[in-house]
Symmetry: D2
Subunit: 263 residues, 4 copies
């Protein structure tokens, strides 16, 4: 019974088969952004009855997974998340997996996914996880800190635009409009009009909504030399601490306060 195997061992040209492997190295000395997105999360959020437009606990779970990712992968210096999407920034000089795109993307997305399932019960103690969540991911590189910050600004602006729209949309739906009526109603409205709608019809001051909803979440390391000390006032032995924050990351102020992140 082993016979055929043994004969085959010699036949197999492992080197030939391996020659089909191809490199997919990301350029050295550039910022690597790994962006992951929930797959079918529209349906996932319905099945698990997430609150609309934002489910606080679902977002807290996402942030908690991001913290775990930063704890696990030391080369990640910053991450930013909104809704079912998260972007992880690896340091310019990272040699993680020799900068092979597929491996870096896959291991981060894999770890994030398994942490998501493991932590589910902590955030939804009374909800059963009904099917397996999954995320896809891709890598992009940015050659300068300026362009990296443009990328992050783009994501935060997107967060703001989507959240404002979704807040109006769901208030209209909850007040009795159909989804398509709400859509027509909002079509072509500007930021100012949406804010006025919220104030007049629903007595909601958009700017008092939770920062996490309006600005998304940043998860990053702070080190002893940063000007900002963690709230508990000490780093203990760790020398660094992973922080979850909802600051404006478009303006310079945030980056001046945390000079070590992109240094």
């Amino acid at each position: 019974e082993l016979g055929p195997f043994e004969n085959d061992i010699k036949k197999i040209k492992a080197a030939y088969v391996r020659s089909f492997l191809f490199e997919n190295k990301l350029m050295p000395s550039t910022w690597i952004v790994i962006r992951i997105d929930g797959c079918h999360f529209h349906r996932f959020s319905e099945v698990h009855e997430f609150e609309k437009p934002n489910d606080q606990q679902a977002l807290n779970l996402m942030n908690s997974c991001a913290v775990a990712v930063l704890e696990e992968f030391k080369d990640i210096v910053f991450s930013y998340g909104v809704s079912d999407e998260y972007s992880f920034i690896l340091s310019k000089d990272s040699k993680f997996y020799q900068r092979q795109a597929s491996q870096i993307v896959s291991v981060i997305v894999s770890f994030f996914s398994s942490v998501y399932v493991m932590k589910w019960k902590d955030f939804f103690p009374f909800k059963e996880l009904k099917f397996s969540p999954s995320f896809d991911g891709r890598a992009v590189c940015y050659p300068s800190t300026e362009i990296l910050r443009d990328y992050l600004a783009w994501r935060q602006v997107d967060c703001h635009i989507n959240n404002q729209y979704n807040t109006c949309f769901w208030m209209l739906v909850k007040s009795g409009k159909s989804k398509s009526e709400a859509q027509s109603y909002l079509k072509g409205t500007q930021t100012r009009e949406k804010n006025e709608l919220l104030i007049r019809q629903f007595n909601i001051d958009y700017n008092t909504l939770p920062e996490m909803f309006r600005r998304g979440s940043s998860v990053f390391r702070i080190k002893g030399e940063d000007s900002t000390m963690p709230k508990n006032g000490t780093f203990g032995d760790a020398k660094e601490k992973i922080i979850t924050d909802h600051s404006n990351i478009i303006e310079d102020a945030f980056w001046k306060e945390h000079p070590s992140i992109l240094s």
Copy 2:
């Protein structure tokens, strides 16, 4: 407070930021193999006290995840797993994610990982999952069925060689040798000598060990038109059934029995 955001919305050059995205399309009309590997599974198997050299339940869990992957992703036509590694074959004409490597790899590895955590309790009801498992993955393409079969043969030969070595190694260790003594003992031995060692010293006929250990596991779809019917004799409405099997996939016989897999 919204002010700065609004000003920035205009400033952000989303198109510019997006121009850094790059294609990583896999060649059309070629077999896509997504191979995933457990990260730090040496430690993972120690912490969770997996049996050595093979833990039946850990392998059953891997196979069960592979079944879930084939149920989820219809373009996967075959998969082969051994130890903490699994290879998924997408059909030559798959248009999944427009054949973008990173997204295909990441979504499969993500789904596999979250299923692994969700099913853990089914396979290890008395063992707590102590930390988050993760897998990395990569894509390779093969331009012909012949070379794809060379790839699969290479993996199955590897399974055989590693399993025979590990069976000897762990029997020696369990019989009192240190790990480094066992290693020296086996250095340079051939297949025949390892089989003789197992028979003489441990009264183990290698060829009677479970097929899953010696040959790995194949998970694939069978359809009505295949010559082999599933053991339960019916496909019901489904027209296809996902099968876990431990055949020799090096020889032609298997592929002749299942002509639809690589057709």
Copy 3:
């Protein structure tokens, strides 16, 4: 004066600078097609007063360059050219430049260009070459012979369609129509209508025009074992001969006659 250099020699991190080199390997076991196209040949053909719609000598020069390319690069098994474009096919198993795309493309295009200039006088003894011709190139891979033949058929069909259109267009222009009148006149006409136009107005039977204009040119090696012997009846010591031909390469007949080309 050497001083600064010497100090710098140590400073230079050649390995770092070299780490930015990236692989661009073409998949093993696939047909490599290098297609080159004349740059600004519209203007080039005007300046050098090429005959319209086809300049016999300009095409002969292109073909002569292709013959030189096949003599120089032994891994090229076939080439097909039309107008200012040429496609060179490298054998599936070619290891030329370790299958690095940029180098293969560049060296072929470079050699073709310098031969073009060197041979100019042979084909245009009374015309001065007024500026430097240049070509761009790119590589594509095809995983099977069938798809490679689809590629070649596509190029030959293109040759036919363009030539028929151009023949009508230039006959109309030569007969007194302006270029835009000729364009309008031909808009939307089918093959049959174009042929009728040529017969009725210009007494030209399209099918009697030179094969090189209607079908383009194939340049390839024939070997002793091919069924077709070269016209001069002998291979001498060479065992192979490079042939220029204007056959239909869409139909099977050509490939059956020359089985060694794609074997």
Copy 4:
């Protein structure tokens, strides 16, 4: 006779065939370096009896081709050449050929090659060009000006090291040593020792050899705003001028003098 073509026109799936084209875009906002190298120039220089270790006219011809390349391709901001190698730098924001690597490399190498042949007679009026010169090329990107300057420094240091070695080697050969004796003699010698050898045995002060041999050649544009004016004191209508120069490009001085090159 046309029949088979017509039937085939419909059969041909041009879109399918084209789907095999793949992108090879170079990252936006990075410096693109196209480096070309002579193929078989060892033999080429023997056949054409180039003077050793440096043939002034052969280098002048290379530089003259580089000037033509800069005249033709406006996105090239700087080039540096030594021996049979030339590096062309495209501006960070170049959109040339949508930054597709193969096309950029091929068109530059093609133009360089055809200019080389066209200008041959100007530099070697009494030498016939005996066979077609060819060059291969490849693209590399550098994300910052600092690393680009490291690249250029690396090439110039290489020029210096090779030239010093070759000067010694050919002086020894011309003085009667065999090539292998000369090689053994120089093995392991340092810069200082080579300079001493030249002075003592051949009365040559290395630092008085022509700058072009010791430092290679830079070809670049200067614009009105540069501190250095062209020797003829005017730019005329052109506003820019292409200069050939043999400066030290490792030190800052050169770049301070020509701030517009990498701005």
